[in-house]
């Protein structure tokens, strides 16, 4: 559907399965931006490198790396070192997100002022403004 439907002006946000499986099946025309979500651990960075390589080789559009669950500058540095040259947006480790998850509610409703939600609002405005 992503490859064939004409969405017009509708903004489509797709939450893909873990790994790179779905990315290998999407052609370049169907996406404008690939957001690679990575945790600051070597194994998560290894998977992210595969996704970045693939999206770059297939010219699937603008690439943004979201470093999630970061606890400080060292975490962001780790991600940046593993993914050189990528545009990185950091989202802090935030108990409010885990708390919302446990209660089955959206963090945007339950904790709109929490650091992680503010970082995600920043990501959203970065995406729509360009």
């Amino acid at each position: 559907m992503l490859g064939s439907a004409n969405f017009g002006d509708v903004l489509v946000i797709a939450d893909l399965e873990a790994g790179i499986g779905t990315l290998t099946r999407l052609d370049a025309q169907s996406i404008d931006v690939v957001v690679v979500v990575v945790e600051p651990t070597p194994r998560s960075i290894d998977v992210a490198q595969r996704a970045v390589e693939l999206a770059t080789a297939r010219e699937q559009g603008r690439l943004i790396v979201v470093a999630n669950r970061v606890t400080g500058a060292a975490d962001v540095d780790r991600v940046a070192a593993g993914l050189p040259g990528c545009e990185i947006v950091a989202v802090p480790h935030d108990p409010a997100i885990m708390d919302a998850d446990r209660r089955g509610v959206s963090p945007l409703d339950s904790a709109p002022d929490s650091p992680a939600v503010i970082a995600l609002i920043g990501l959203a405005s970065r995406l729509v403004s360009s």
Partner: protein
Amino acid sequence: MRIAFVGKGGAGKSTIVGTFARLLARTGRDVVAVDSDPMPGLSFALGLPVIERPIPDDAVVEKAEGTEGPRYRLRPGLDATAALQAYGALGADGVRLLSFGKTRGDWGDIIRGQHAWSQILDELPHDRFDLIGDLPGGTRQPMTGWSKYADVIAIVVEPTAKSFATARRLSSLRDSKWAYHHVVAVANRISEPADTVTVAQRSGLRVVGAMPFDEGVASADRLGMAPLDGAPDGPFVAAVAALVEYCVARFDGSLKSQNPIKEAVA
């Protein structure tokens, strides 16, 4: 004993499997960590690097045109035990990692390895090795038989609504044609005892282990260290040790081979 760990993405399967396999191996048993995720993960918990192609192409031969059976078979003369010894990487505490390899987007790269991997699991003797399986997140692989080598399915469940929903879907494996003997839950990232009760109630499963959220595990992972190397005295490792003890007492022995009727169904 043959246990496969399944569950929602990020639930903690690889971290638990790596730790479980190593603790079991420390009791003197021959343990195989079975990896079916085409993305890296489990090797880190076993002190191994990412191995892209553990099984060389010449481990298999292609079936002749017009004949029956799978497209690739282990080459003549190579049996499952010998293949495991040749291609299973030797990790920390003597655990063998059986993996078909990792992909960078071209699935053709790992197809031969996947055939060899499946045949090894089909044919390994039941009495010699313990198999501890780590599946990719979600329902796709478990629902299509990728864990059929196991007797016991352990669903890793976090105390979140999304994780409960995945666990409920996976619990239908109880009625699958692969004739699992037990489908149980392992609670992960719990912060209070009541979480374990919630996991039992919301998943509808028997909870056989409960791993607390352990800051030491999370920090060790950032440095590429397994829980057993970076946080060996923490509550996570203690809880996995208790799970190992429980499983040895309850699930030991080769259940499928003891039950020819179920074996035939499988």
